[in-house]
Amino acid sequence: MPIQLTSQAYCKMLLHAAKYPNCAVNGLLVAEKTKDRKKDSEPVLCVDCLPLFHGTLALAPMLEVALTLVTPCLRSLSHLSCRPNQVAEKVAARISENFSDAAIVMIDNSRLTMSCFEPIVIIYDHHENKWKSRDVTLDSFEDWSEAQKITSALLEGRSYENLIDFDNHLDDLRNDWTNPMINKSVLDLC
C-alpha cells in the first residue's frame, strides 16, 4: 500500500524531531477517509501529522488516550524516529486493529539538515509479520519541491519552538496539538 506525504505532514514530522533533538519522538500521520479506493496501488495521501510524545515513548496509558481521541475521525498510520523497535511495532499493531493498513514512517536523524535537500524518511510496510523498508522516491510526496521549500523555511525560522505535541497538551490543555498556527504557516508558504 503506497503512501504519499503532503508538505504539511512531512514538515510537521521534521519540526517535531527538530524541537527535541535529545529525545526520541513519535506521532501519527493521518490520511483522509476514502470511501473506496479504486485500486490497491493508488497511494494513500497522508495529509497531516499529529505529533505525540517526546522522551519516554514506551508507556501505554497516554498513548491509548491519544489514539482514542484521534480514532473516531481519521484513518491513520504512524511514524517514529528511531529504528522500528517494539514500541513502534506495538503502536502500528494497535492501529492495524482499527484500520486495514498501518505503515511506519521514520526519520533518519543523521540526515536532518536545514536545507532539506533530500527526503530523509524511510517507510516500512508490514509483510508476512515483518516490517520491511521500502524505497522512498519523490513519488512518496505529493509535491517534493514544495515540501522541501516549506520545511527548510520553517526549520530556519525555528517554527519548531511553537510546535505542540500531545505531551505539551497534557502539560497544559490550552496547547493545541493540531497546531493550527503551523498549518497556517505551511499554507501561507504554498
Partner: protein, 297 residues
C-alpha cells in the same frame, strides 16, 4: 543580525540573571542559552566577575548540544587556563569528545579522572552515558546498577535507570526504581504518576488496580495533573470492563471513572474558554468518554 539585547530590550544583568534561572531550573533550552550566553561572554565578560566561570561551563554544554564546537572550545580553553588541574574541567573536555563521537578518547579521559579520584561520580556517570549513546543498553544498565549499589541515594541515577528499563520494556524493574524514588520523595506527584503508568503498561488486573491507586495518589498530591486524571479514568474503565471482577468492584470503578470523566470534561471546558480552537478537543474528549462508557456497560 540583531543582538539579543536589542531584540528583547534587555541589559546584561537581565541576561546574566536569566542564565542563572535556567541553571537553577536545570533546563536544557540549549539554543537559547547559546544565544544569550555567547553575547554575554563576548560583550560583557569583564562585568561578570567570578560568575563568568560557571557561565562558561553552562554555555559550553549548551554549545555541545547545538553542535557549536567553536564556541564550546572557546569556553573550554578559558576554563582550562583558569583551572588547569580541575577534574570538573576535565569532565567538560570529555563531554566535548562525546559530542564529537570520539568515545574511546572520552572514555580515556574519564578513566584518568577515576584513577586520580575513584569516587568521582560525574566521571562514572559520563561513562554510562557513553554506553547509552552507543546503544549498549545492557551494559549501561549493568554499570548503572553497580553504581547505585555504591551511591544508593543518587536520585538522578535511579530515574535514569528506570528510563533505561522502560526502553527495554522491563517494566517490573522500572517499577522497582520508581518505588525507590517514591520512598525518598513521597510528595512528588510525578513519580507516583510515572509509577502508575508503568503498572498500567505491565497490564493484568492486579497491576491495573495498583495503577489506579497511584494515579489517584498523584492527583491527591497535585489535582491539576492531567496525565493522572486521564490515567485514573483509563485504569478504572479497564477494571470495570474486566469480566474477572465482582459486581461491587465493577460498580466502584464505574464510579471512579465517572468522577474522572467529569473532572476531565471540566478541565477541557476551563481551558477552552475563549478560544475557538480547543472546541475540537472538548468535543473529542466528550466523544471519547461517551464511547468508553458504552464499552463498559
Amino acid at each position: 543580525m540583531a543582538s539579543v539585547s536589542e531584540m528583547y530590550d534587555v541589559g546584561w544583568e537581565e541576561m546574566r540573571d536569566k542564565l542563572r534561572k535556567w541553571r537553577e531550573d536545570n533546563r536544557r533550552n540549549s539554543e537559547q542559552i547559546v544565544e544569550v550566553g555567547e553575547e554575554l561572554i563576548s560583550e560583557h565578560a569583564s562585568k561578570l566577575g567570578d560568575d563568568i566561570w560557571i557561565i562558561y561551563e553552562q554555555v559550553m554544554i549548551a554549545a555541545l548540544d547545538c553542535s557549536r564546537d567553536d564556541l564550546a572550545l572557546t569556553c573550554l580553553q578559558e576554563l582550562r587556563k583558569q583551572f588547569p588541574d580541575s577534574h570538573r574541567v576535565k569532565r567538560l573536555a570529555g563531554m566535548r569528545l562525546e559530542a564529537l563521537e570520539r568515545y574511546e578518547e572520552a572514555n580515556k579521559h574519564y578513566d584518568a579522572i577515576l584513577q586520580d579520584d575513584p569516587t568521582n561520580t560525574a566521571a562514572r556517570k559520563r561513562k554510562i552515558a557513553i554506553l547509552k549513546a552507543q546503544g549498549k543498553s545492557t551494559e549501561a544498565i549493568r554499570e548503572l546498577n553497580e553504581y547505585l549499589e555504591q551511591f544508593v541515594g543518587d536520585q538522578e541515577a535511579w530515574h535514569e535507570l528506570s528510563e533505561l528499563y522502560i526502553n527495554e520494556h522491563d517494566y517490573g524493574k522500572a517499577a522497582f526504581c520508581l518505588e525507590e524514588l517514591m520512598m525518598t520523595n513521597p510528595h512528588n506527584h510525578l513519580y507516583c504518576e510515572q509509577y502508575a503508568e508503568v503498572k498500567y503498561t505491565q497490564g493484568g488486573l492486579e497491576n491495573m488496580e495498583l495503577s489506579r491507586k497511584y494515579f489517584a495518589q498523584a492527583l491527591r498530591l497535585n489535582n491539576r495533573n492531567m496525565r493522572a486524571l486521564f490515567g485514573l479514568y483509563m485504569s478504572a474503565s479497564h477494571i470495570a470492563s474486566s469480566p474477572k471482577v465482582s459486581a461491587k468492584v465493577k460498580k466502584d470503578n464505574i464510579k471512579y471513572a465517572a468522577w474522572a470523566a467529569t473532572q476531565i470534561n471540566r478541565a477541557y471546558k476551563l481551558a477552552g474558554r475563549g478560544t475557538k480552537e480547543t472546541k475540537y478537543s472538548v468535543k473529542a474528549v466528550e466523544e471519547m468518554l461517551e464511547s468508553m462508557q458504552i464499552t463498559m456497560s
